[in-house]
């Protein structure tokens, strides 16, 4: 669905952000895009959606060059950015104004999500709180049925119950031909939701594996001492250590935070 080959990108008068970055992504996945601050997560998402233009390299999103912003690509891509602006109109009017551009928009699904998020369609968008606006935008994105969904920090600003709700709604409204990329620092919010992890560091993709692959290779355990056991990576926590060890026999829950720290500290699995 998405092919990136030897992508080079730099903002004007700045050091290169991506040096010959390559990665391929297929439909039917909720992929977590992780990286430290300034690693270029948002920039990569904008390159994929045609909002930024690459310096060089090949970029293909559903057989389109994003920078051309072809309608047949745009009506199949929806981005939930971190910061957004809505006109001063009701949710109902917003649907009237914007849904004609998305031929596969699912109104029933939208109504269901709106109810779950406790939003009323006669509310004026500008009078919603930031979190409510975000919920509306997530509802719109999922209902658009676009094959490529880009969520940049989707759980930022959501209250505690809404984060769980977000996971449930996302897990329950996707089709197999869709690809979702979630860029986030809040790994707890998307645990069990994502099935693939991409880690961006120093302008490159330094890690790209499915949760299944990870859980077959390594286990995440707690223990009282870190020196034994041949741990690949360990971190002190209250009462002992969290460790990433070679997988023995049983799969453990993937500790994304520990994995991220291990990988960005140069460990390989």
């Amino acid at each position: 669905m998405i092919q990136i080959k030897d992508l080079n990108f730099a903002y004007p008068r700045q050091q290169a952000l991506f040096n010959s970055l390559s990665v391929n992504l297929e439909a039917g996945s909720i992929t977590g895009l992780l990286g430290k601050n300034g690693a270029g997560k948002t920039s990569l998402l904008k390159l994929l959606t045609g909002l930024l233009h690459p310096v060089s390299g090949e970029l293909s999103v559903m057989d389109h060059q994003p920078r051309k912003r072809d309608v047949s690509m745009l009506n199949d891509v929806f981005m939930v950015p971190e910061e957004f602006y809505f006109p001063s109109i009701t949710i109902r009017d917003y649907l009237k104004a914007y849904t004609p551009f998305y031929p596969r928009f699912d109104f029933e699904l939208f109504d269901r999500i709106l109810i779950e998020f406790e939003l009323e369609s006669n509310r004026n968008l500008q009078r919603l709180s930031h979190g409510q606006k975000k919920k509306f935008l997530i509802a719109f994105a999922l209902s658009s049925k676009c094959r490529f969904l880009v969520l940049d920090e989707p759980t930022n600003g959501l209250d505690i119950p809404s984060k769980a709700l977000f996971r449930k709604i996302l897990a329950g409204s996707l089709d197999e031909d869709q690809l979702v990329i979630i860029s986030t620092h809040q790994v707890k919010d998307v645990e069990n939701l994502i099935d693939k992890i991409i880690i961006l560091d120093n302008g490159e993709v330094i890690f790209h594996q499915t949760i299944l692959e990870i859980s077959l290779k390594v286990a995440f355990v707690s223990g009282t001492s870190a020196d034994a056991s041949g741990a690949i990576y360990s971190e002190p926590v209250p009462g002992g250590y969290r460790m990433m060890i070679p997988n023995g026999h049983e799969e453990s829950e993937v500790d994304i935070e520990l994995l991220f720290n291990a990988i960005t500290n140069g460990h390989k699995i």
Partner: protein, 264 residues
């Protein structure tokens, strides 16, 4: 499903519909403000003339000043999405082609103004005239007609093609330049466009000044009627209006490319 990636009139219509839904409160408000303001302007201007000695030409001169100043102000509001990064993002990702978005912007900012504003002006001028006349019967020339007004200021009612063309191109230039400025600059497009023009014109004048000084053309003057480029006044108008047309087209091209290459 085949999607047209070049230009679709249906999507152009969708853009208009979208604009109307989003501005369904703002448009009536703007139109009433404009009508009310114009009405008051007429009453005040007529009162300074003691509600007599009012003529079509007076209407026309207020038309020209309102048309140009308001047109320029309205042109700078083109591409409103480009005023902020968040709006730009949604605008650029809206599934319509650059061509459709560009045509929509020209139609809604320049063409719509040129067509609707004179019509509205005419209606309000006549309404106001009739109303004031019923209070002050001494206001006699209260019926406004563009034709009458123009005939009064153009010698012999003889509209020559090239001067007329030049005037139209000149006014259009004002609109188009600010339209382009709005597509290019994100913050304060009016100020920045005017500043850019000032710099360009000053630079050009300085260049010409230095050139004439440099190659010492001081002593040289064109000799009588046998000028090199222009044989008569008509050809001056012609050359200038063709030049203006080219400049206008060039500015629209710049606007097009700044939309096409816009990033958010």
């Amino acid at each position: 499903m085949q999607t047209n990636n070049t230009f679709s009139f249906q999507r152009l219509l969708m853009l208009f519909k979208q604009k109307l839904i989003i501005n369904k409160r703002r448009y009536p408000l703007g139109l009433s403000a404009f009508s009310g303001g114009l009405f008051i302007l007429f009453v005040i201007s007529q009162s300074t003339k003691d509600f007599s000695n009012w003529s079509n030409t007076d209407y026309l001169s207020s038309f020209i000043s309102v048309f140009i100043s308001l047109g320029i102000a309205y042109s700078t509001t083109s591409f409103p999405a480009f005023r902020s990064k968040e709006k730009s993002l949604f605008y650029l990702m809206l599934p319509a082609t650059n061509g459709e978005k560009f045509v929509f912007e020209i139609l809604s900012r320049i063409v719509a103004f040129i067509v609707l504003m004179p019509l509205l002006f005419w209606i309000i001028a006549n309404l106001e005239g009739a109303l004031v006349h019923s209070f002050y019967p001494k206001l006699t020339n209260y019926q406004f007609s563009y034709r009458e007004g123009l005939l009064a200021i153009v010698k012999d009612g003889n509209f020559e093609f090239w001067p007329t063309n030049l005037t139209i191109q000149g006014i259009l230039f004002g609109f188009i330049a600010l339209f382009t400025g709005a597509s290019y600059f994100s913050k304060a497009p009016l100020l920045k466009t005017l500043l850019t023009f000032t710099i360009v014109i000053m630079g050009y004048l300085l260049f010409v000044y230095l050139l004439t000084k440099g190659i010492n053309l001081d002593g040289l003057r064109p000799v009588g009627k046998d000028q090199i480029f222009f044989s008569d006044v008509q050809s001056v108008y012609r050359t200038l209006s063709i030049g203006m047309l080219i400049i206008n087209m060039a500015f629209l091209a710049i606007a097009w490319f700044s939309l096409k290459e816009k990033e958010a």
